[in-house]
């Protein structure tokens, strides 16, 4: 019998990577006191951006296009919620619908109807010397595509940036009390523009990661709810980069469990395990710490 632990850990990290990328971007957005409910749309746009140019521009070009497509959705969102002061929830829903629909249409227009096997260059695993030799966890954590290492890098940088730089503190000030921040000479408008664009870039990269580092092709609606999962992860991670990283692993592990069950031939209802992280998030939101972790301006109009 094959040892199920190593494949389980590998699947956990692989599933967690795009979730963590999107969630880290969303963390910054929500810390600035707004929310990108259209994150699902951002991810699918990134995925489409990657597949559209992958053959011509290679892997780096695909990642760049993914980021650009993600930022594009964020700019659209920012135009409405920052400039026109539209409702963030309604706008985000519209952006998701728009991106899901547009990518579906464009994909059919560019690559014909679904079913055509598309071969694009992919980013394979890059084992890190020494670290990937650690028994059990080594290969799972340190023999992954480059996007996983982007997550490893982003977490500490973002955590440090939020608590040790002027810009990071300004962003948090806008998220807690935009009026007070404005009095102190910080422009909430500009801060939220930058936050949304950064969130869009990471969300787009998350979609690119799905296409280039994981699936190797595009499918309509392939974001499959990851944008909403990322929003859940931000809440479970209590709006802190480190917490978000841990929460991503938890969500990744929950969905990796189903592969383990399948490989072991267990007939357990894996839907219960899939639902578990969401229930956990609800509990975390209701807990004493969770209640006060949300940026104060979040959800205010």
């Amino acid at each position: 019998m094959i040892d199920p632990v190593a494949p389980f850990l590998d699947a956990t990290v692989r599933t967690a990577t795009p979730l963590a990328l999107a969630a880290l971007g969303e963390t910054l957005v929500e810390r600035s006191g707004t929310i990108n409910i259209g994150l699902e749309g951002t991810i699918i746009a990134g995925a489409f951006g990657a597949v559209a140019v992958a053959t011509a521009a290679g892997v780096p070009g695909a990642f760049a296009a993914a980021i650009a497509a993600g930022v594009l959705t964020a700019v659209l969102l920012a135009l409405f919620i920052v400039e026109l002061r539209s409702d963030a929830i309604v706008t985000g829903t519209a952006v998701t619908l728009l991106a899901l629909g547009t990518t579906g249409l464009l994909y059919r227009a560019m690559f014909g109807t679904a079913g055509v096997a598309l071969t694009i260059p992919t980013a394979g695993p890059v084992p890190i010397p020494l670290l990937s030799d650690i028994p059990v966890i080594g290969r799972a954590f340190f023999a992954q595509p480059v996007t996983t290492y982007v997550v490893y890098g982003t977490v500490p940088v973002l955590a440090w940036w939020l608590s040790h730089t002027h810009a990071g503190l300004a962003l948090r000030a806008v998220g807690e009390n935009p009026a007070a921040a404005a009095t102190a000479g910080i422009s909430p408008r500009r801060v939220r523009w930058w936050a949304l664009c950064f969130g869009g870039a990471l969300g787009g990269l998350s979609g690119g990661c799905l296409v280039v580092a994981q699936v190797g092709t595009f499918a309509e609606g392939m974001s499959a709810g990851r944008g909403f999962i990322a929003i859940a992860i931000v809440a479970l991670g209590r709006w802190s980069p480190v917490g978000v990283a841990i929460a991503s692993v938890l969500f990744g592990a929950a969905s990796a469990l189903q592969f383990v069950f399948q490989s072991l031939g267990w007939a357990l209802p894996y839907q219960l395990f899939l639902a578990l992280p969401y229930i956990l998030t609800l509990l975390a939101l209701a807990s004493v710490a969770g209640r006060h972790a949300a940026p104060a301006a979040l959800g205010r109009r």
């Binding site: 629909g101 249409l105 859940a232 969770g290």
Partner: protein, 372 residues
């Protein structure tokens, strides 16, 4: 006074008519433009869209109004919640819970209760929808948890719950497909126009719309809901409204409407429960409510419009080869268009108000000058 009132009603009706025409023209233009962009014949696409939605009596009754039914009910759910200032984006999950309840009621009590099965299933669906909304509503009231996030969680939990039910306790007896067995004949909603697929659910949706319109407009509870949504701080400091309780009730009733939509979908259209019961009705509902400008009567109309669009889009894919996902793009564009119009109208309104006040001040001043 009555003269002015009558004139303003006429003006409103004319404005509404103009808005409808503008919306239809915008939809047609968008469909045509998107067809051209994706390399399809726009005239064939529009022709198929028309014939599949409003072009014939059969299309209207069997496609458009059937498709509109869950959109109207979930649209009303969103209208009620948003009017109360509750950002319930969990209509999708509440709908699934309602559908699951209807299938469960039939599986447990179906043949035994005969014709009673229909009201039981609908009641069960509404209760399940309200129950699904209860946790986010309670978390909001008790702990101040953002309902935007908690309702998203509940949507996923509902999806996985249905996934479990149709592979476990509710799976059809042969255990091949992940769906529940077809519900018994007596549990199906009656067809209200013979020879079509139009079922009683559409009538129920209309009744719900009328009741919500009346309740929001003419009852004390409706007034409390509107006041709460318009200005929660004022509602709280006025002291006459229990803010927490009012929001909670609106939230639960909103969930009940969405749950009813799910139960009606199972007992009137699919006759069975499966994971893809809803092609995102709960999310489209936000567009429906917004186009209906959060007015229950208008929401019914916009539900029919979106029903026509989605029914027509299916026909467009079938007959003209245009991907039906085009409807999604049109829906999203309509939302953004309306948000843009609303944002651009706000400064005009402010300016007009300032103008009226200046004129009033003028009049007062002049009147003051004339008094010796």
């Amino acid at each position: 006074m009555t003269e002015r009132l009558r004139r303003s009603t006429a003006w409103r009706a004319a404005g509404l008519f103009a808005a409808c025409i503008a919306l239809l023209v915008a939809v047609a233009a968008l469909v045509a433009a998107l067809s051209v962009l994706t390399g399809n014949d726009p005239f064939r696409a529009l022709d198929a869209l028309w014939r599949g939605s409003l072009g014939s009596r059969y299309a209207i009754l069997s496609a458009t109004l059937v498709r509109a039914t869950p959109l109207i009910l979930t649209g009303l759910a969103v209208t009620l919640a948003f009017t109360a200032g509750v950002m319930n984006i969990g209509a999708e999950g509440q709908l699934l819970a309602g559908g699951a309840a209807a299938a469960t009621v039939d599986a447990i009590a179906g043949p035994a209760v005969g014709r009673l099965s229909v009201p039981l299933a609908l009641l069960g669906g509404a209760l399940a929808g309200a129950g699904w909304a209860f946790l986010p509503a309670w978390l909001r009231r008790r702990f101040g948890v953002l309902e935007v996030i908690s309702t998203i969680m509940m949507n996923f939990v509902a999806l996985y719950m249905v996934g479990y039910l149709v592979r476990g306790p509710l799976q059809e007896p042969l255990r091949i497909y992940p769906q529940s067995p077809a519900i018994s004949e007596s549990a199906r909603l009656p067809i209200i126009v013979s020879g079509t697929r139009l079922h009683l659910g559409f009538f129920i949706a209309l009744v719900c719309g009328a009741m919500l319109w009346w309740a929001l407009r003419s009852t004390a509870a409706g007034f409390r809901v509107r006041l709460l949504g318009a200005n929660p701080d004022a509602a709280r400091s006025a002291g006459l409204i229990d803010v927490g309780r009012t929001a909670m009730r609106a939230f639960l009733l909103s969930g009940a409407l969405a749950g009813l939509a799910g139960a009606i979908e199972v007992s009137g259209v699919t006759y069975s429960l499966y994971e893809n019961l809803s092609p995102g009705y709960g999310y489209t509902a936000i567009a429906v409510a917004l186009v209906g400008s959060l007015d229950p009567a208008l929401t019914v109309g916009s539900g029919v419009l979106f029903g026509a669009l989605e029914a027509g889009a299916s026909a467009m894919q079938r007959d003209a080869g245009v991907p039906s996902v085009l409807a999604t793009v049109v829906e999203a564009s309509i939302i953004l268009l309306l948000l843009g119009v609303a944002a651009l109208r706000a400064p005009v309104k402010r300016w007009r108000r300032a103008f009226v006040m200046r004129r009033t001040a003028d009049v007062v001043q002049r009147a003051g000058a004339e008094v010796p």
